[in-house]
């Protein structure tokens, strides 16, 4: 239960502008991998830069292993950062890139050699030590960036959308690689991403961020099963979100559907994944605007009195062509119940 990182009512802003992050508090335990998940502009990268020391908070404190580091310069914090762009040193070889932090710490030549060899091997680049970093592929550069950041054994490693410049196949491969490295070295990580699949796959806990605040913090399972706010629900794939308004369901654009079954007191909103929408029968009806075949499923867009409904049906079921009328149901049993009072 050692708390490695504590953010205490952190407010962050660039220059004199409006705050990008407001009153953010969070604690991260030793060995955890916590993701900051949110759309661009939600403050996740800003928070990460503040933890690294590249941005001075307007107010609030940052504690590392119990020590207040808010005023400690970035080169003295012992926090590593893997940049989205990798930020490798173009004039140096792979070996020298990985050795850079060790040289800055004035380690002995023997320590440098053995540590660099260990890290280069750990990221699967043995034999590439004497290549220039600019001669490597994107995936290889990503590995060098990881090895370089980990070589100095940082107390905390920050990763800024590290996989976003890789193609889909490499991304999944590197995701597994990252999990292995995190397990092997027991390193505490903060992972910034806008990809919920990545966050779900990697994280011990996820902090879903929106407009400079944490909307919900929890394990991937908790977030996926029970989103606390409509925003989190949308991010977790509940694409049909309705506010409960008396005995009606109100969509974001103001259009409404009658509420067939009351969800009980204290429920602010209801949300359905496309798979939870039943097609072919039910109290509602609409027109199929689009049907797209996905291999194992068919995704439908249905225009209804409650706006556009996203539904998904198994590929084996009856294909409903675009333009046809269809009745559907939003069963309460398949809905996420979003309690009142939480979040925005």
């Amino acid at each position: 239960m050692n708390e490695l990182l504590v953010l205490d009512h952190l407010t962050l802003a660039y220059g004199r502008g409006a705050p990008a992050v407001e009153g953010m508090s969070l604690s991260v335990k030793e060995g955890e991998l916590v993701s900051f998940l949110g759309p661009s502009g939600c403050g996740k990268s800003t928070t990460m830069r503040a933890i690294a020391g590249l941005l001075t908070p307007r107010s609030g404190r940052i504690l590392l292993a119990g020590e207040d580091v808010t005023a400690v310069p970035p080169n003295k914090r012992g926090v590593g950062l893997v940049f989205q762009s990798y930020a490798l040193f173009p004039h140096l070889t792979v070996f020298e890139n990985v050795a850079f932090g060790l040289r800055a710490r004035k380690e002995s030549a023997a320590v440098i050699r053995s540590r660099v060899e260990e890290m280069v091997a750990a990221v699967g680049l043995a034999g590439f030590e004497h290549r220039l970093s600019t001669d490597l592929s994107g995936g290889q550069q990503q590995r060098v960036a990881l090895a370089r950041a980990m070589a100095v054994r940082p107390r905390l490693l920050l990763l800024d959308e590290p996989l976003s410049n890789l193609d889909a196949r490499l991304r999944i491969e590197m995701r597994a690689e990252l999990m292995r490295l995190q397990r092997e070295y027991g390193i505490t990580m903060i992972y910034v991403t806008h990809d919920q699949g990545e966050a779900l796959a990697l994280s011990s806990r996820i902090a879903v961020m929106n407009r400079g605040r944490i909307e919900q913090l929890g394990t991937p399972q908790a977030l996926y099963a029970a989103p606390a706010t409509p925003f989190v629900a949308t991010f977790m794939g509940f694409e049909n979100v309705f506010t409960v308004d008396g005995n009606q369901l109100a969509a974001g654009d103001g259009s409404k559907l009658p509420l067939v079954q009351q969800p009980g007191a204290g429920v602010q909103a209801l949300a359905w994944r496309p798979q939870a929408v039943t097609l072919g029968s039910g109290p509602y009806s609409g027109t199929v605007r689009g049907a797209s075949y996905q291999g194992d499923s068919v995704e439908y867009l249905i225009d209804s009195a409650g706006g556009t409904i996203k539904a998904s049906a198994a590929a084996g079921s009856n294909f409903i062509p675009a333009g046809s009328e269809v009745s559907f149901d939003l069963p309460l049993a398949g809905a996420a119940l979003i309690p009142a009072g939480a979040g925005a």
Binding site: A52, G53, L54, P73, P74, N75, V79, G80, L81, F83, S85, A87, L88, F89, P90, H91, F100, G101, A104, R105, R148, A149, V152
Partner: protein, 257 residues
């Protein structure tokens, strides 16, 4: 059409290189006056220029001022280029324009101003004033060439170096300098040649026994119209070409211009 553009190309080349050929050839003349075509062939003028003490002195002064002003311009210009490239400065555009101003202001004005206010009013030695004047002229070259290189260098590598334990200044020397070294050398060569060939500022700033080589050559020509001027010009042009050729081969000077 192709014939026309080809002929035009050769004409332009002739226009550019013709004078150089004339000068080199005239320097090899055996006659006593500067003529083309040369009257006979000899090396006597190429030998004579090395025996004229005024040329020797002004050559040494030109080299010292060239090297000194170039170094000063780089010491002042590299931080300016860095600040322009990396920070959002208030009046950034104005600063950029001001730094380039010496390229636009006629050298005559700079020379006259320095003579009037630095030499006459402050009684500064002519050598120091020359150094100052040339530094002013060279700063735009230093700033522009180094800026171009810095604009192409990612700025996040400095943050990466800081997070790996370097101070900000340490990061500059560890990861910025090695990547702009080529540009700095290119700026050095360009500035030195510019200083060495500079006439208007040097013309105003000369005193008894103190003059830059181009000024000395002008004066020499007023009294003596022999081919030694051609020989010296040819040698200077050759030296400049050699410098540019070498830097182009070693660093690719054209990448920075």
């Amino acid at each position: 059409m192709q014939f026309l553009s080809r002929s035009l190309l050769w004409l332009v080349l002739l226009f550019l290189l013709g004078p150089f050929v004339v000068i080199v050839a005239a320097g090899f003349s055996a006659g006593d006056t500067l003529t083309f075509p040369p009257q006979g062939w000899s090396l006597r003028w190429y030998i004579k220029i090395f025996t004229i003490p005024e040329f020797q002195h002004s050559f040494v002064l030109s080299v010292w001022v060239g090297v000194g002003a170039t170094l000063l311009a780089l010491v002042l210009g590299v931080p300016v280029a860095y600040a322009i490239a990396r920070y959002r400065l208030p009046f950034g555009e104005t600063i950029r324009t001001l730094v380039s101003a010496p390229l636009i202001v006629p050298g005559i004005i700079i020379g006259l101003a320095l003579l009037r206010y630095v030499v006459f009013t402050l009684n500064a030695p002519v050598e120091i004033t020359l150094l100052l004047g040339h530094t002013t002229l060279l700063i735009p070259y230093a700033v522009r060439v180094v800026s171009a290189s810095l604009d192409n260098l990612r700025s996040d590598i400095e943050e990466a170096a800081v997070l790996l334990g370097r101070s900000r200044l340490g990061a500059f020397f560890a990861v910025v300098m090695p990547n702009i070294r080529g540009a700095i050398l290119a700026a050095f060569v360009l500035s030195f040649i510019t200083s060495f060939n500079q006439v208007p500022v040097s013309l105003f700033l000369s005193g008894p026994g103190v003059s830059m080589l181009p000024t000395q050559m002008l004066w020499y020509m007023e009294y003596t119209y022999d081919p030694s001027i051609a020989a010296l010009s040819a040698l200077l042009a050759l030296g400049a070409m050699l410098m540019v050729f070498l830097t182009e081969r070693l660093l690719g000077l054209s990448r920075y211009m």
